[in-house]
Symmetry: C2
Subunit: 167 residues, 2 copies
DNA sequence: TATTGTTATACTCTATAACTATA
DNA sequence: TATAGTTATAGAGTATAACAATA
């Protein structure tokens, strides 16, 4: 319970000479957070490669897919859906708008909010991107069978979907 | 194959008025990268809370655990093990050394390299932290049964353990 | 007064290049 | 020359506070 932050003077280990060690097995591999981060790094690396030709970042892709599914979605709703902060949505939509992929349309009923829509260009691109993303996922998880891949997706959803108050 | 980057002038959607939409189901949820990121965010949030009292970041925790398992590990080996870059290891070890948790010992055989060891303080702390981390993982995945949790860990390891050249 | 979107800011994480000291 | 560690730096991603326009 008490904060053990007070550093004692470091005790020198008994041996005088450091010896290089080869790290193989790892207690760390029992930790879920570690496994999640490593797996995510791998999958995202593949994703980056797949999207490089179109210069699309993960958050941009996610935004495009949500806007496609919910044309006219507001920025605040998008922020909530992707669980990112409103300021991030601003630069995100700016980048999509500058590239002619999406556009803001002022809402007449409530002139504070903007609806976001895909342009024709954006619609064409997101269709292609979804195919690339799916292919990238498959390549990144070649070591899994189709059944295992579905199991993994189900388990991950079960983890993040369960809200317990804070989120 | 061709890069469809040339943005055409954005076509205004047919409707004049944007309407707020409620986002519920999501095609995005079929994407592995998205599910991984969301699950990781949740697990890491719990981890942060569990470690706040000791002011320990995920990378610091991982380093402590590896050093505990492999006393005298070199910084380059640690970088490789955690798949982070050497410059990151420097500031990481600096922070641990400043807090009296770990220390560099110059290797006599090859005076370029340092072996890293835990201090007595570091050893005591990492023992406590491992317990907190395990408890945090359990809390973050309350929606999973014990069997499902093991399944998830196995699947994740299978994903990131398979090297295919690039990593 | 509350809400949508925005600006400004800062802090962490990450990646790269260039330097040093040793080999 | 090659390697281990270091320094400096810059780019993402993320989080917060403060502000403008509108309700």
């Amino acid at each position: 319970m008490t904060t053990s932050k007070k550093p004692t003077s470091p005790e020198r280990p008994s041996l005088e000479e450091a010896y290089p060690t080869t790290v193989e097995g790892l207690v760390l591999e029992e930790r879920l957070g570690y496994a999640l981060r490593r797996a995510q790094l791998k999958v995202f690396k593949h994703f980056d490669e797949a999207m490089r030709e179109h210069d699309i970042r993960p958050a941009q892709f996610s935004s495009l897919v949500v806007i496609e599914g919910y044309p006219g979605v507001t920025q605040s709703s998008l922020a909530q859906t992707l669980s990112i902060d409103p300021p991030r949505v601003v630069s995100l939509i700016n980048s999509l708008e500058e590239r002619g992929l999406a556009m803001r349309v002022r809402c007449k009923r409530d002139r504070r909010s903007h609806g976001i829509f895909l342009t024709k260009t954006g619609e064409a691109l997101v269709g292609r991107l979804k195919g690339l993303a799916e292919q990238s996922d498959l390549e990144a998880t070649q070591s899994l069978s189709e059944i295992e891949r579905r199991q993994l997706l189900t388990l991950l959803r079960k983890v993040y979907a369960s809200e317990e108050g804070g989120d």
